[in-house]
Symmetry: C2
């Protein structure tokens, strides 16, 4: 019986087409990811570095629910830091607190975070704590300040999302603290009372926060993380008119998105960094990429239909 079912499925056209589509989907998804292994990530970093682009390496993963699983995450970051050092890569690292166990306990997460920050500090590698959904904003900022101030890690930065209404105030305070901040729009599903529903408001908030923050450079440092051409143009203008020193900002874009524009910014002399994710847990990352840019979604659907 079972044998017959399996042999039927082996021959059935619909089953073959379905699996072909699914695994084609995987291949398209992997265009936004350097690969599933650390070696893939190192190879991509080398290529980008040669093109004059700095990199931030992100070991994909989030929402870890078992404490044991966070050990492997810390180990991978440890290996990654060693590789960055040994291969003299121009790379920082990015990490997510729920990957380090924030959903299990704040103590575990802080312990793991300090472990990685210590390794990174020894190797002189900057670390950015990624921002996740708004459920984590407060906790993330608190833990960021804890490691920065109480444990004295100067190599740490974090992220602010212009989609959130609170971000304006957060950024005023962070500017006073001289923080290194990646400013992005935000790619999470948020309740309307705390986030702007309208894309135009998110963009406007981005532009205003950017202008304010750049005025504090280079004491604070702004990482302008966007693919929005209008905002990039606006940033170029501000950098010129405010005479922002070169260590007071950088542009950031994602691996696999607007590669030509990344190269162009680097060639024009702007410090530019590519966010390079790697690892097997690419599914949620990929879905957020589809959600944030209609072009990505259409490209994805077209690829599936072409077969």
């Amino acid at each position: 019986m079972l044998r017959k079912l399996l042999l039927y499925l082996a021959g059935a056209g619909w089953a073959r087409r379905l699996t072909t589509q699914l695994f084609l989907a995987r291949r398209v998804a992997l265009r936004f990811v350097a690969g599933e292994t650390l070696d893939d990530a190192v190879a991509a970093t080398r290529t980008l570095n040669r093109a004059g682009l700095a990199v931030s390496l992100d070991y994909l993963g989030e929402s870890v629910l078992h404490a044991d699983d966070t050990k492997a995450v810390v180990d991978t970051y440890h290996t990654l830091i060693e590789r960055i050092s040994a291969d003299r890569l121009d790379a920082s690292i990015s990490l997510k607190l729920t990957h380090l166990g924030l959903d299990i306990s704040e103590e575990l997460c802080l312990l793991n975070l300090r472990h990685i920050l210590t390794n990174a500090k020894d190797a002189d590698i900057p670390v950015t704590i990624d921002m996740e959904g708004s459920d984590y904003t407060e906790q993330t900022l608190r833990l960021y300040r804890t490691v920065r101030d109480e444990y004295d890690f100067g190599n740490v930065g974090t992220v602010i999302q212009s989609a959130l209404k609170r971000s304006r105030d957060d950024m005023r305070q962070l500017a006073d603290e001289g923080a290194r901040i990646r400013l992005c729009k935000g790619a999470y599903l948020e309740p309307p009372h705390i986030a702007y529903a309208d894309k135009a408001d998110v963009d406007k908030n981005y532009a205003e926060i950017m202008e304010d923050y750049l005025q504090h450079a280079p004491r604070s440092r702004l990482e302008i993380a966007t693919h929005d051409e209008k905002l990039i143009k606006r940033a170029e203008h501000l950098i010129g008119s405010l005479r922002v020193p070169v260590d007071g900002y950088e542009f950031q874009m994602l691996y696999g998105v607007r590669g030509a524009r990344q190269a162009e910014l680097a060639a024009a002399g702007y410090p530019t960094r590519v966010y390079v994710p790697f690892g097997e847990a690419w599914y949620p990352y990929f879905m957020r990429r589809l959600a944030e840019r209609p072009a990505n979604l259409w490209f994805f659907l077209r690829s599936l239909l072409r077969r």
Copy 2:
């Protein structure tokens, strides 16, 4: 709306688990395949050759329905033959007639087959025409004889399945013709009036055909393609008692199945060849592997459940 749906799917635990399982399934499937590229296949062949094992390389694919698609298949086999020659690999090739267009027209299929056979003959590489489901048995044997006798390709062999009741007679005739035949049990869903339903009958038929056929060696040549230890033991005994010359037979097993036993046979001095499939169309091949060996299926299910 669409953005919200995608972001919901990015965060939903069930969606994450489902995709993780699916892509884990792919990884397990790939244990039975050298890889998705020709380079993967060449690398696997080199490793097996170093261990004293010959290889038969199969570019995965079957049931092609568009004539244009068969061109790429012929091209891939052409490249493969060049690589086998250039890298001096100990490798034959295996192909399926429905991959070369048999479902479109016999003329197209014959043309493609002759093209590949010519390339292979020039490079002194043996070719085996795989046997598919019983709908194709008659046509496959006819085309095999056509290229062998009318077009004079001495480098071609084909396959007989002990699951089919006709195989006894087919093998008597093929022995008279001095054919090189791979004998396997058969991995297709067959109607009961033409195939043995009972595993014991399939095995008995295998043993009897094997004994008959080995007596004609080395004029004919038997490729003993099985993982069944009882049949392998029986073959070892027959090879000794009938004093079958070394060019009159070989053992064959599949890539990823009983690797230790493969090495053992080669070490004992038996000519042994591993069937190495590669390419993206691994789905039906993998399903047949699951169907033919309960152990493969349980291994597969266990791997999925461990996560």
